[in-house]
């Protein structure tokens, strides 16, 4: 681990060098009717990088687990796997999203390792960027605080006059050659820590309780049907909360054919447990069963997964407090702080 400093005026040249050497993906602006939002996209122009973003529409997991991914392509009986790792730099990931990547890393690695994810993940260098602007629905400072980001290769923090760059791994160290870096002073390191603490203080929403107490009370509320029916009254089952979630990892697999009926592919697409058909299964002989048929059951399932079911496996809740679900829900009923805070202690 080593700390470095790059001056503001040297930063564009560093990025240009990086872009010349590698595929670089980072947060860029996207606008509609003058409303500015952000997305992770491939950088061609260093000026397009927006490290002052608040949150992106989709989390960076899409770089390794895209919304649609060909698992294989076929040409009659000949099959080509869809795994095509590219050495890319994922630049400017917020710490909460890094925690989420750590979770998808663990979930895709457990038991049968999913190379469709891990091969792409291993080929990437991930540079975390401290939060410069906090999003209106963020609560990352108050959830799963016992879990720290760990899978990143470097951590960049804006301070007065430049950025502190902490190289955590050899991969993170390797990026230093593209820019004019000096050793970071103690004062600059301290300023970087202060910047992180200040951002944490600005989180507008707050989850009460601890990970353990929340897991306990959410689990205990499982059978309280009236509670979940009320929470889910305005739920569209639209899947927006799942689809923008950085820790959701369910997918559906379907085959398709080109018009020649001989070539085609097997594609996985993000799935969403809030949607009606998610839990529809075959009973054979044309019969079907939906084991989460009611809207309230599906709404409850999401909270069980985020606050309780995965905690032992992940060391904390499967929610990192990015607030994307809260913002994406047009009925504004998905906010984990609002829901979990309102569940009485067990």
């Amino acid at each position: 681990m080593s700390f470095h400093f790059i001056k503001d005026q040297d930063f564009p040249a560093f990025l240009s060098g990086l872009i010349k050497a590698r595929t670089v993906v980072g947060p860029v602006a996207k606008t509609s009717r003058q409303q500015e939002k952000f997305v992770f996209a491939r950088l061609t122009d260093p000026a397009a990088l927006r490290l002052d973003y608040d949150v992106t529409i989709l989390p960076p997991k899409k770089e390794f687990f895209p919304p649609k991914q060909n698992l294989l392509l076929f040409d009659g009986p000949r099959v080509t796997p869809g795994i095509e790792p590219e050495e890319k730099v994922l630049f400017g990931v917020h710490p909460y999203d890094m925690k989420a990547l750590d979770m998808t890393d663990a979930l895709f690695r457990e038991k049968n390792e999913d190379r469709n994810y891990t091969a792409h993940r291993e080929a990437a260098t991930v540079v975390v960027s401290s939060v410069q602007k906090v999003s209106p629905r963020a609560f990352w400072a108050s959830i799963g605080t016992e879990v720290k980001p760990k899978g990143h290769d470097a951590w960049l923090t804006k301070v007065a006059g430049g950025c502190v760059y902490e190289a955590v791994t050899a991969k993170g160290e390797a990026l230093l050659q593209h820019g004019k870096f000096a050793a970071a002073s103690e004062e600059q390191k301290k300023a970087a820590r202060r910047a992180d603490e200040e951002a944490a203080r600005q989180c507008p929403e707050k989850l009460q309780g601890t990970s353990a107490s929340n897991a306990k009370k959410v689990r205990a509320a499982f059978s309280r049907e009236e509670l979940w029916t009320k929470f889910a009254q305005d739920c569209f089952s639209c899947g927006s909360c799942n689809t923008v979630c950085p820790t959701c990892y369910c997918f559906d697999v379907q085959d398709w054919w080109h018009v020649d009926q001989n070539t085609g592919g097997r594609t996985r697409t993000w799935d969403s447990c809030l949607t009606e058909d998610f839990a529809k299964i075959s009973l054979g002989a044309g019969a079907q069963e939906n084991f989460r048929e009611e809207r309230a059951e599906r709404f409850r399932h999401r909270f069980m997964r985020k606050a309780a079911y995965l905690n032992e496996k992940l060391g904390g809740p499967a929610c990192v407090g990015c607030g994307r679900c809260s913002a994406a829900c047009t009925a504004d009923i998905a906010d984990p702080t609002a829901v979990i805070n309102s569940i009485p202690e067990a």
């Binding site: 409303q35 939002k37 569209f236 689809t243 020649d260 949607t275 009606e276 058909d277 809207r295």
Partner: protein, 250 residues
Amino acid sequence: MAKPKVAFFDFTCCEGCQIEFTNYGDPVFLELLKHVDVVEFREAMSEKCREPLDIAFIEGSFSREADRPRLEEIRRRAKVVIAYGQCAATAGINALKNHTSDYRKFVYGKDAALPHLDSQIAVGVDQAIKVDYYAYGCPVNKYEVLQIVSHLLHGKDPVIPNYPVCVECKRRETICRFDVGDYCLGQTARAGCGAPCPADGIPCEACRGFVDKPNHEALVKVLDKRAGMPKGWARHKTRMFTANQRGDVK
């Protein structure tokens, strides 16, 4: 193996969905003809067919009792019947007239009383005959139709989404219409189109109809509270394409 025989039929509709079938472009269309034998398709050929069919695409809604025998005859001949387009699936935009009583006067003027212009409540063709699969949309999504045909050729059930358009907007990172002060019906609208309209800055009008279980009450609330639509308008807003899927269906 002989190529499956495919035919197109139309009832109350604009035949735009059939036109969509001719919009693949020559290379795709000619390739498709290697796999299916189109035996009746009045948008593109003059031959008619009286033989048994493998796939019947029926466009248009069922709005005249006089059409029932023809629908039943198609059903008897076809192994698979596909309701082709929103009119055939749910009567789509045709069902708008179900809530009016003076449409004949306004549409046909002095000819309003002519007997052949009489029609009943417009409904999907599944109200007259059994339908096996639905190709939703106004018009249909021609790429989805190609997948429906491919699945049938390979002996598989076609996969038709029953989730809302929001899913497809999020997957492609479209900025939500509600975030820019607009309205949208995507939360209750059936996906499968790929959500091109919001991506172009236009609200979803639910042209593929509703999902199987739409939360219409919540939509009215969101249109009123978040999009600032007057209450009455919010309540009726979805009717353009979903008159037969709402609580006030005739």
